[in-house]
């Protein structure tokens, strides 16, 4: 597309009010090719011809070379750089040479595996020999049992997900003995999705797979694919537990790209409110579509993806009705058939635009588009670049627009483009040796095969102690030096890889209620009678956690831009009954969250502050909802709700600052609670460096209710806790000193996303950020004073206590340099790789 001309036209338009805050030109990059040392066999050459590929990009050729050398490889290159081909070709080559061999491809979601299967079949169509070789399919929760057996007994290339491997394959490995004993390759794509708790679990599932393979005499090679992250090599190594060669020199061509930072204009002279970002995004989106520029518009929540779609469709209907049918909405919760249809239409170019959540961020093959719009910062730099990468085909010029919300992070980014473009993507951190996580997997491993003396080599030294614990608790019993599973539990059922529930609700459309009385107001609640099944139609699904935030009675459920009103949410039957009704508003849930300290296990002091460690229940629920008018975003009413709360029982660590320090802050004209909010945000950045977890794995609140004084509570976002925030209780000095360094070294003036400015800690996944209301960046100065004081006072107390105190001192462990400047915000709390249901 001609970006220059498009921007000129926009700037001349009546609606333009100086929204373009910055334009960054990302230079083009020519393709670099590399020949193979040994040519491919004829079958693959034929398939490549069919794909119109003569030469491989340098990174593809290097991946093939490494794979041929029987080394593990991680290919870490940009979106649409041909990663799939890079790892598929060596697999096909090996299977052609060894028709008995097998390969397992793992993807973080079912949808992705199904998409990749279609890609694989397209390659197979191009060569009879490959078509004759492949016995392939997806093995997941959707696979019918007949298909399962056939794949198990005959398949040689199986696509699945880690959850299925964990609970559906490894515990039954004897059924898979043929497949596993001949396993040549394990491909794991999108490994950047395996961060934090989920990643630590997946790393252990992979160790279990390697262990079972060893039993059957195979030792598969690992081929990994990843989007750009800060630490691909270390991360790959800890994920598979073996050395991995890194291929990250991207040889694919890239056209010039203009990256436009777009800030909605102020609505009033007081410069407080800005125009709705959704409305701004839809305007840009509509203008692009009107120019017949194929565009993907990303936004943070399902509701915003639907809103932007609806607005765009309305605007097109008025101005260019022939284009109104050429845009669609796309998100998790659509039925597979509908999704396939949209993906295909995008790929073929039939559709001109799609408004999507991050469900299209992962590698679903929709081809490349001309422009992408990113509505609101998607929580990580890595995601931002993934979304931006959806635009740009070959050497043509492309555009990405970042539309800021009126919140401190987005506003910071448009004010400081240099930060955005210089910031390296996040590190992906996992800790497979987290003892709580590892214990669960050792149980699974013992069920699969007795644990022997060589387990520490695979699972780490700590495995020895944990196996001893399992023995002491009668979970396993040692006979002749090996520990056998010694009870009737089925351990893989007790270990969930993700910290979200697997339950789903079905969304069922029922005929509009035309009964007696007020036909407009649907009968809900106990009066609701489930309809005749013949009149009901399943239109989508949603995970159980989200159901209570999206499908409460009287909620407006948006699906492909159409409005449905929820008549009844059946909590037991896990179904939401909706009826199609044209309304001029949508609904936004208002969530409340509490932390209740249940039991104090330990207490201590640090620098005069009280600290503690114990058990807490974190509860959240949808308290009420607001009705928001389309376009104007005016609140036109609300409704109260009586929904059951959701909660996790977990562990918490806290710190209460001394009263005199609070007094001192007040005398300086500072609000201590705002300072504490800043400290809390800093701690959420720092604790993961010591706990080896992702920032989304911990949460924090500042609360006075539990202890009668303002207190920072940090908690593990996992039932029972995983020992993350316990690090803070054990090592307050190290962690508070790191936090102090972080805030002192940050060059910003009044706080920024890199220091005290972390946004809300549980990003409300189903709220429209447009109407969430802006919150201020916490007080940087106050945060710094608190940290400074605590660390100084602690040192003073130790000096007075003399040698006794120094003996207690915990040596501060060095924090790796590149990690002390954590970037922006924590990801979505669900730990899901995208908006999709995982399996």
């Amino acid at each position: 597309m001609d970006v220059e001309r498009f921007l000129e036209r926009i700037e001349r338009s009546r609606d333009y009010g100086g929204q373009i805050a910055h334009v960054e030109t990302l230079p083009e990059r020519p393709a670099r090719y590399e020949p193979l040392a040994e040519p491919f066999p004829p079958a693959i050459r034929k398939a490549l011809q069919g794909l119109e590929i003569c030469d491989l990009y340098s990174h593809q050729a290097r991946c093939v070379a490494e794979a041929r050398e029987r080394r593990n490889v991680a290919v870490v290159t940009g979106t649409a750089s041909g990663k799939t081909l890079a790892y598929t070709l060596p697999v096909l080559e090996r299977l052609l040479a060894n028709p008995e061999g097998t390969a397992l491809f793992l993807y973080p979601t079912k949808a992705l595996a199904q998409d990749q299967l279609r890609g694989l079949l397209r390659i197979a169509e191009l060569s009879e020999e490959i078509a004759g070789l492949l016995r392939t399919g997806t093995y997941d929760g959707d696979t019918p049992s007949v298909g399962r057996r056939k794949l198990r007994d005959e398949g040689n290339l199986i696509l699945s997900n880690p959850d299925m491997l964990h609970s559906g394959i490894l515990p039954y490995h004897a059924k898979w003995s043929r497949f596993l004993s001949r396993l040549e390759f394990v491909v794991i794509d999108e490994i950047h999705a395996y961060r934090g708790i989920f990643g630590s679990n997946v790393a252990n599932v992979i160790r279990r797979l390697r262990r079972v393979c060893r039993h059957y005499g195979s030792d598969p090679q690992f081929l990994l694919g990843s989007a750009t992250i800060a630490n691909p090599r270390d991360f790959s190594r800890s994920l598979v537990g073996a050395d991995v060669s890194l291929v990250n020199d991207d040889g694919s061509p890239r056209g010039r790209k203009k990256f436009v930072l777009w800030n909605p204009p102020f609505l009033d002279t007081a410069n407080m409110d800005r125009r709705s970002s959704n409305v701004e995004a839809h305007w840009l989106y509509t203008e692009l579509v009107k120019d017949r520029v194929q565009t993907i518009c990303f936004s943070r929540a399902r509701v915003t993806a639907e809103l932007i779609h609806r607005y765009t469709q309305e605007m097109l209907t008025r101005s260019k009705p022939e284009l109104a049918g050429l845009v669609r909405a796309y998100r998790g919760g659509y039925l597979p058939r509908e999704r396939r249809e949209i993906e295909k239409a995008l790929f073929s170019g039939e559709l001109l635009g799609v408004s999507s959540t991050n469900a299209l961020e992962l590698g679903i093959d929709i081809g490349s588009l001309d422009a992408s719009i990113i509505t609101g910062f998607p929580s990580t730099i890595a995601s931002l670049w993934q979304q931006a990468g959806r635009a740009g085909r070959g050497s043509e010029e492309a555009a990405t627009f970042f539309v800021a919300y009126n919140d401190p992070i987005d506003q910071y980014l448009v004010r400081h483009p240099e930060y955005l473009f210089a910031q390296s993507p996040e590190s992906a951190v996992i800790d497979p040796e987290n003892p709580y996580i590892l214990t669960g997997h050792l149980e699974c491993a013992a069920f699969e095969l007795p644990l022997g003396a060589d387990e520490p080599e695979l699972f780490g030294e700590i495995a020895k102690d944990l196996i001893r614990l399992l023995r002491e608790h009668g979970r396993v019993r040692e006979v002749d030096g090996r520990s056998y599973w010694a009870n009737t539990d089925f351990p893989s059922r007790q270990v969930s890889l993700r910290h979200m529930s697997d339950d789903t609700y079905t969304i069922i459309e029922v005929p509009a209620d035309t009964g007696k009385g007020d036909a407009y107001r649907p009968r809900t609640g106990p009066d609701f009678a489930p309809p005749d099944p013949q009149e009901a139609k399943v239109i989508g699904n949603v995970d159980a956690t989200s159901a209570l935030e999206l499908l409460y009675p009287e909620a407006v459920y948006l699906h492909d831009g159409e409005t449905f009103v929820v008549r009844h949410l059946d909590l037991e039957g896990k179904a939401a009954y909706v009826e199609r009704r044209e309304v001029d508003y949508y609904t936004n849930p208002v969530l409340e969250q509490h932390l209740v300290l249940r039991e104090e296990r330990e207490r201590d002091t640090f620098g005069g502050a009280d600290t503690g460690f114990g058990d807490a229940t974190v509860t959240w629920f949808t308290a009420f909802f607001k009705k928001i008018q389309f376009f104007s975003t005016d609140s036109i009413g609300y409704g109260n709700l009586d929904l059951p709360p959701q909660n996790i029982d977990t562990t918490t660590a806290w710190i209460t600052i001394p009263a005199d320090l609070r007094g001192a802050l007040k005398r300086l004209g500072k609000n201590p609670v705002e300072g504490l909010a800043g400290v809390r945000n800093l701690l959420i950045s720092v604790v993961p460096l010591y706990a080896m977890c992702d920032r989304a794995d911990i949460g924090g609140v500042v609360d006075s209710k539990n202890l009668g004084q303002p207190t920072i509570f940090l908690y593990d976002r996992y039932p029972g806790g995983l020992g993350f925030v316990e690090h803070f209780y054990r090592k307050p000095r190290t962690i508070l000193e790191s936090a102090r360094e972080l805030v002192e070294e940050c060059p910003c003036d009044g706080g920024c996303p890199s220091c005290v400015g972390l946004p809300v800690l549980r990003p409300a996944q189903h709220q429209d950020p447009d109407v969430g209301g802006a919150w201020p960046i916490p007080d940087k100065d106050a945060a710094r004073i608190i940290l400074e004081e605590l660390v100084t006072r602690a040192a003073e107390i130790e000096r007075q206590a003399g040698g006794e105190g120094t003996a207690r001192r915990v040596a501060p462990s060095p924090v790796p340099r590149e990690r002390t400047t954590p970037s922006i915000a924590s990801g979505p709390s669900s730990g899901v790789a995208g908006d999709d249901l995982p399996f």
Partner: protein, 288 residues
């Protein structure tokens, strides 16, 4: 989302203690009774089967159900089979037509759970030297499973016909899978096989409350179980036996296994002879 059963919570606290560097003295290992107590079981002995040393409990059918000439009934029943060849209702019996009655094996497994769990007892009912005998190959502890499978595979491979109850869905694939896990060769999947459950479903559909083994046992073979253990309790009791060596825990499981193969045989004989041989009225029996 709720991995915290009581057991797991206990472990959690100990993991926390471990991380704090606290060491607790290991609890004493459970006292294991000497294997000699196993030897007090009637019919128990260590045998060599196909070069594999295995512990087995071997009992004569005559001793278990005195006065019943089951061997003769089996031969007679199988003699009738050819006349049923065309009858769809008995289609499940066809693999048995023409088979040598002396090379029939009834098979029943006991495992510590369901799929993916170890097999600890292979129960066989065979004809040896013109007499029906039950042979139960037992893993006295977890590591003996491979030897049990190897020995059982050798005995099964000698058979011309395998008879099970629900073996098509469970015993045969389960045995084959555990064998493949230990690298034990077996031809069991390719043996002629009669699964009584399938035939029974067609023959007695709707006559009784269901077609489970114990239901048919009560109504068709008129047998009363005594000293039995419910199937669901077997895995936990075996784990307990394996940890303590307490033979009194094991005995009900062995008895249960013997009654299962006996009933399977008697159902087969009844179906093979059915009709005309009258099944009822007859006196109720008890396996001793």
């Amino acid at each position: 989302m709720t991995p915290s059963d009581v057991q797991a919570t206990g472990i959690r606290q100990h993991i926390a203690a471990l991380l704090r560097g606290e060491r607790r003295p290991s609890p004493a290992a459970p006292v294991r009774l000497a294997d000699s107590t196993l030897a007090t079981l009637r019919g128990a002995r260590t045998t060599q089967i196909d070069g594999v040393s295995v512990f087995e409990i071997r009992r004569d059918f005559e001793e278990l159900l005195p006065g019943e000439d089951a061997w003769r009934a089996l031969r007679d029943g199988m003699g009738h089979l050819a006349t049923k060849e065309e009858e769809e209702i008995y289609a499940g019996l066809r693999p048995a037509i023409g088979a040598d009655p002396a090379r029939v094996a009834i098979l029943d497994l006991e495992t510590t759970g369901f799929w993916g769990c170890p097999i600890f007892l292979v129960g066989l009912l065979r004809v040896e030297n013109g007499r029906l005998v039950t042979r139960q190959l037992l893993a006295r502890d977890y590591p003996e499973e491979a030897a049990v499978l190897r020995a059982a595979a050798a005995l099964l491979d000698e058979s011309a016909l395998v008879i099970t109850f629900n073996g098509k869905s469970y015993d045969v694939p389960c045995f084959a899978e555990r064998c493949s896990m230990f690298g034990v060769k077996t031809k069991l999947r390719r043996r002629p096989h009669v699964d009584i459950l399938h035939v029974a479903r067609r023959r007695w559909r709707g006559e009784f409350e269901d077609c489970r083994l114990q239901t048919l046992e009560r109504h068709v073979t008129r047998l009363t179980r005594q000293g039995d253990i419910p199937s669901a309790e077997i895995p936990a009791v075996y784990h307990d036996f394996a940890a303590t060596g307490d033979v009194s825990r094991l005995e009900p499981i062995l008895h249960h296994g013997r009654v299962d193969v006996i009933t399977t045989l008697r159902l087969f004989t009844a179906l093979a002879a059915d009709p005309p041989a009258p099944l009822r009225p007859r006196k109720r029996k008890v396996v001793s």
